[in-house]
Amino acid sequence: MERVGVFICHCGSNIGAVVDCARVAEAVRNYPGVAYSTDYKYMCSEPGQEMIQNAIKEHNLNRVVVASCSPRMHEKTFRACVEKVGMNPYMFEMANIREHCSWVHAGKNEEATEKAIDLVKMAVSKVCKNEVLQKGHAPVTKRALVVGGGIAGIQCALDIANNGYQVDILERTPSIGGKMSQIDKTFPTIDCSACILTPKMVEASSHPNIKLITFAELEKVEGYVGNFDVTIRSKARSVDMSKCTGCGTCMTKCPGKADDEFNMKLRKRTAIYTPFPQAIPNKPVIDRESCLKFKSRKEGKDVCGICAKMCPAGAIDYEQEDELFVEKYGAIVMATGYEQFDHSVYGEYGYGKYPDVISGLHFERLVNASGPTQGHIVRPSDHKEPKTVVMVKCVGSRDPEHGKSYCSRTCCMYTAKQATMIRDHCPDTKVYVFYMDVRTPGKLYDEFYNRTREEYGVDYIRGRVSKIYQEGEQLIVKGEDTLLGQQVEIAADLVILANAMIPNPDSEKMAQTVGIGYDKDGWFTESHPKLGPVETHTAGVFLAGACQGPKDIPDSVAQAGAAAVKVCALLSKDQLETEPTVSVVDTKLCSGCGLCVPVCPYKAITLETIQERKGGKTVERQVANVNSSLCQGCGACTVTCRSGSANLKHFTNAQILAEVDALCQTMQ
């Protein structure tokens, strides 16, 4: 027997000045299910809440409706209020007669009162069909996975580890370090990137709470917040990590050669290699594409094997294979970083064919003391020092037609940094920068930009470059100085393009694997652009660094710390409360057609086989099953379900129909 208590709030004059609250309370007093009805000045105040609690006890109420403000405001308050006197918090409903009524119908007191009565009747009809629901509990695996071992991933892992939790870093390449390890200097302080990064890498590798899983890929993510089962593919390294001492002898005589990706293909590396001297782990891998042994094996032969002969530890293992293993984690941080936009889409810049038109990252390797030119700034084509350098900003950025529509945020500053570095290294070299805007919103950023022009004498020209072409040994850069309103042509020896930052090419696939959202460009989407910048829509999965959108190092590090805090807050719990307002399948009604399975954004629905007695024998059949820990309660499945066997708790078909009927009945 439903015994509903109805409490109409005046909210001072907010509601009371428009809605005749006493009349509303009176109008529903005899409505089916209502056992008690009253109005009061401030329901959310302490006396107001006490009033509700007393009424529950006095009138033996088993359901409560409060008509007041938006449930987005005080639903939690009133749920707690009724729970205190032993009522299940889900036996409570709210009618919004402030935001949806008194505030928007000022002066129309009669109609607003009628509307309030309707809204209360709808709430009463619904609450009569409410069911007792209990929050669920799920255990938490106290270990985190950080996907990506760049600066964001390293920082995040360190912060989690220093809070006392276990954390694994999953890195796709043979070494952690990421893009920051390729960069020579960092703006605006011009300190050496490796000098500040390497200690962090060492700290991560030696931290007792951190495990590095390098040269490995994320294969599959199952489970839910607190309980992820992650399948990891450890790629065949061809080197036994337990035996290898990292002496490097194997690399000295390797005859296999390949483009050195770390050095932007500006030189060659051996087939057995570590990406860079400070790599961690500093143990090599064999690149099977360029290894003579593996190449010959494809042709049915088996040659070379020099590295195995050289290795004093006997660590070379040509027979290694990829290995899949499953690990349990309570939280996942995505820190997969970015890639550099490929400027070869621009025909007007030579389709990437001119060797002396290079990208910003190329330049970082050129100017790096351990890079292919030992830090001498020379042209890739003839190794001569350039006397005139043109830098072009926004290549691929802010270009919806040929590149990306967004601003890559970092290019203004790294271009300024590189310009000053050229002027430092080659004082006789003239540097021009073509720009559209200079965006320097960071600490000491604008000061740095101004120094670039004022102290370093770099000429900034406002305008996009229309064409770059080779003429003899030089590159002619055709642009416009829009401030002068004149065309300008510059004969350059070297052109450096400030290429956009783009997500990893497989970021969309990765997002689907993990079950998080991504935007049109492939960046992972945060749960709220303002208030949830490191969370995703999937509980337990967080974001750090440039995988979410272009970011520089300080921003990446800051976000990594923020993600770490969220992870720690999660891992600090022994159990997680789960909302009970989830979908549930009535297996008696379900035909097992499976139409609901693909619509679930959380992969919460699976078909499972049940046994039942039918015609005197036990038969098996498939029915849909909702994992209540994964389900977030959207209700998409309920509409797909023809038989109505999938239903959403607290928003059941019967509840919604009751509300519809309650509203329509008032029209008779």
Partner: protein, 293 residues
């Protein structure tokens, strides 16, 4: 291979060499060009400055005549090609435009008959190998620059080749045995449409291109646009008077094909160029050491 043939006004006058060489080469390659009877000017240069529909209506009539005959139209002139292609695209994309155009020209034109650039036909339909097979006198030792101008390469919807780095002429010239030099002016506008009314502007634009050509050390320029050709060829004497000698012959790609196929240069009208063009052909077959001046 049958095509309706639209020579356009230029090929009857300033671009007569293009006309002659196109016809000769087509015959040799087995391309049957059937001239559109009583064709009219496509309105290039001016109609589009006067009105949208007039610029579509003029080429539409020619296309409609070809469509009635069930043929695609081979158009050597880049300007005529661009204008004809524009109307083809317009009627295919918009039913409303099609109806309006048909009303104006009083003939049906559905866009079924396609406007095809002659160079595109040579390169894509016939193919470089077929051209190579007909070469009897390879253009060995000849250093050429290919020049496409703007009307073959832009706007993108009209372009029948890469818009920033077209290669069709390069491929054909390589097939003929010439050495193709790279430069940054393949698709730069020569200002041909401005020479008539703003000669100094046109001359400046031409000069930039000719300067680059001179710098490149090429023997000649090869083009497929009669406007570019007449502009670059005829105005060199003016440039020379003002800025010193240029004397770089400018050939139509079909002239070069004819030469490589062993035809008499006079039959191809190579003797009618403004910049003397016959002697350069003498370099063919010679090693470049002696040739370098």
């Amino acid at each position: 291979m049958d095509y309706a043939y639209y020579p356009g006004c230029s090929l009857e006058s300033t671009g007569i060499e293009f006309h002659a060489s196109t016809k000769a080469v087509a015959k040799e390659l087995g391309i049957n060009l059937i001239e559109i009877p009583d064709w009219n000017c496509c309105g290039a240069s001016s109609a589009h400055a006067r009105g949208h529909w007039i610029s579509l209506a003029l080429p539409a009539r020619n296309m409609a005549i070809a469509e009635a005959a069930g043929l695609d139209v081979a158009i050597p002139c880049a300007a005529c090609y661009a204008r004809s292609k524009k109307v083809e695209l317009e009627v295919t994309e918009s039913e409303e435009a099609k109806e309006k155009i048909e009303e104006i020209i009083g003939r049906p034109y559905t866009g079924k008959s396609k406007a095809r650039n002659l160079t595109e036909i040579l390169h894509n339909d016939l193919g470089v190998d077929a051209i190579k097979a007909k070469v009897v006198k390879p253009l060995k030792g000849l250093k050429v620059l290919t020049y496409y101008g703007c009307l073959m390469s832009r706007p993108p919807e009209i372009a029948c080749d890469d818009i920033e780095d077209p290669i069709m002429l390069d491929d054909i010239m390589t097939a003929l045995g010439a050495e193709v030099l790279q430069w940054g002016f393949k698709t730069e506008c020569c200002g041909g449409s401005l020479t008539a009314c703003r000669p100094q502007v046109g001359l400046d634009m031409t000069k930039k291109i000719m300067d680059a050509a001179k710098k490149s050390g090429a023997d000649c320029i090869v083009t497929a646009c009669p406007m570019c050709h007449s502009n670059l060829d005829m105005r060199q004497d003016q440039l020379s008077k003002k800025y010193g000698a240029y004397n770089i012959p400018v050939y139509f790609v079909t002239e070069m094909m004819g030469v490589a196929m062993g035809m008499n240069p006079k039959d191809l009208c190579i003797n009618r160029h403004f910049v003397e063009a016959e002697s350069t052909l003498g370099k063919i077959g010679k090693t470049s050491e002696g040739g370098e001046a």
